[in-house]
Symmetry: C2
Subunit: 216 residues, 2 copies
């Protein structure tokens, strides 16, 4: 695993990438990102923005370019990227792209303990999830084809990727649901029984006894 970053917040990446082109003050960065729709990928947290910019400066990735007072607004500090900053941005990007990392997957965590709900309820919840996914996918796809006409694809890669992953999620959910509804899921009976009676079935108790061994 790579050395830990001086600034770990993803907002830092966005900031570096934004300032890469031209010096800006924090608020301008935010507006820029918002306009570009990057706040879809990554919601901008106001509190974090200033902290992150401050940290980037502290570690020498950004430098104060000037402090202007125009119009009469409160002072704005304009930052420019440093050579170290450019290096950090590239290095960080290289790592992010080359090394696939398991992100904290909430849904997976939920699946791993979904036994505490009964199979019927899980089925209906999954149906809701699937419906939501399908809607989002349709919207995204529509937006994507719309933009493809006006924006170079280079700027849409992440949307394409996102769409592909969503579709995979939906496909998996659909096939799992199918197993649950047709009853071809093998442990359905055990599960239902366990849920309804609250009794831990013997084969599971036994597994719990044995424990361990799963770490190879």
């Amino acid at each position: 695993m790579a050395k830990r970053r001086k600034v770990g917040n993803m907002l830092g990446l966005a900031v570096l990438a934004t300032v890469y082109a031209k010096p800006m003050h924090p608020y301008e960065m935010a507006s820029f990102l918002r306009e570009r729709g990057k706040d879809r990928d990554m919601r901008i947290k106001w509190g974090s923005l200033y902290t992150v910019v401050g940290n980037l400066e502290k570690h020498g990735f950004l430098a104060r370019a000037e402090t202007v007072r125009d119009g009469g607004h409160p002072e704005r500090t304009v930052y420019r990227i440093t050579d170290a900053g450019r290096e950090e941005l590239k290095d960080w990007l290289r790592e992010l792209i080359a090394v696939p990392e398991r992100e904290q997957p909430k849904f997976e965590a939920a699946l791993s303990v979904c036994g505490v709900l009964g199979p019927d309820e899980v089925t209906s919840l999954l149906r809701q999830r699937l419906a939501a996914l399908d809607t989002e996918i349709a919207e995204e796809r529509e937006a994507l084809t719309r933009y493809t006409r006006e924006v170079p694809r280079l700027f849409l890669i992440e949307a394409e990727y996102d769409l592909a992953i969503r579709e995979a999620e939906a496909a998996w959910t659909r096939s799992f649901l199918d197993e649950l509804t047709t009853g071809s899921f093998p442990d359905l009976m055990t599960w239902r029984n366990w849920y309804e009676t609250g009794q831990t079935p013997p084969e599971i108790a036994e597994l719990a006894e044995r424990g361990g061994g799963t770490t190879s």
Copy 2:
């Protein structure tokens, strides 16, 4: 969006699910989770465990069952789940399953700014990523078929899901790489030029001017 949880850390979910079956003290929960290999899905942070358990207690989801001193170890506080805790667990699970949520996707963030690296470097990085993904997939698949023989599938759903998603990631990467290497990616020239000369090409500058509009 759902009401924010009193305890938001995913470790809380794991704790609730663990204590659901039988009262335990924190360290025991951790060992239990570790044995079950849940620490693969969700790395256990020692500092967080006690904080999270404390918070769960504060909000009435856990209660102190007893404080035992056995052997002479420092005192261990055994916690049991309360009715409110059981409710919270179920409610939380329902939300996690029914509502698909965009998690902070680092790779996507990286893709969205990958223009600052040249196309050739991105290609080679993606190749590394793909290789890593393929290895992981092979391992996971092997592990999955191995366990399928000894553990009910009910306990392997999250692994199956994970595998499916990984495969989709790999497939997408492969197809994108393909476009890059065969040169069928439309903006390749622009990109390379931009990177090598550092010049913002006119069509992009124009886009930057127009800005906005992407928020519908």
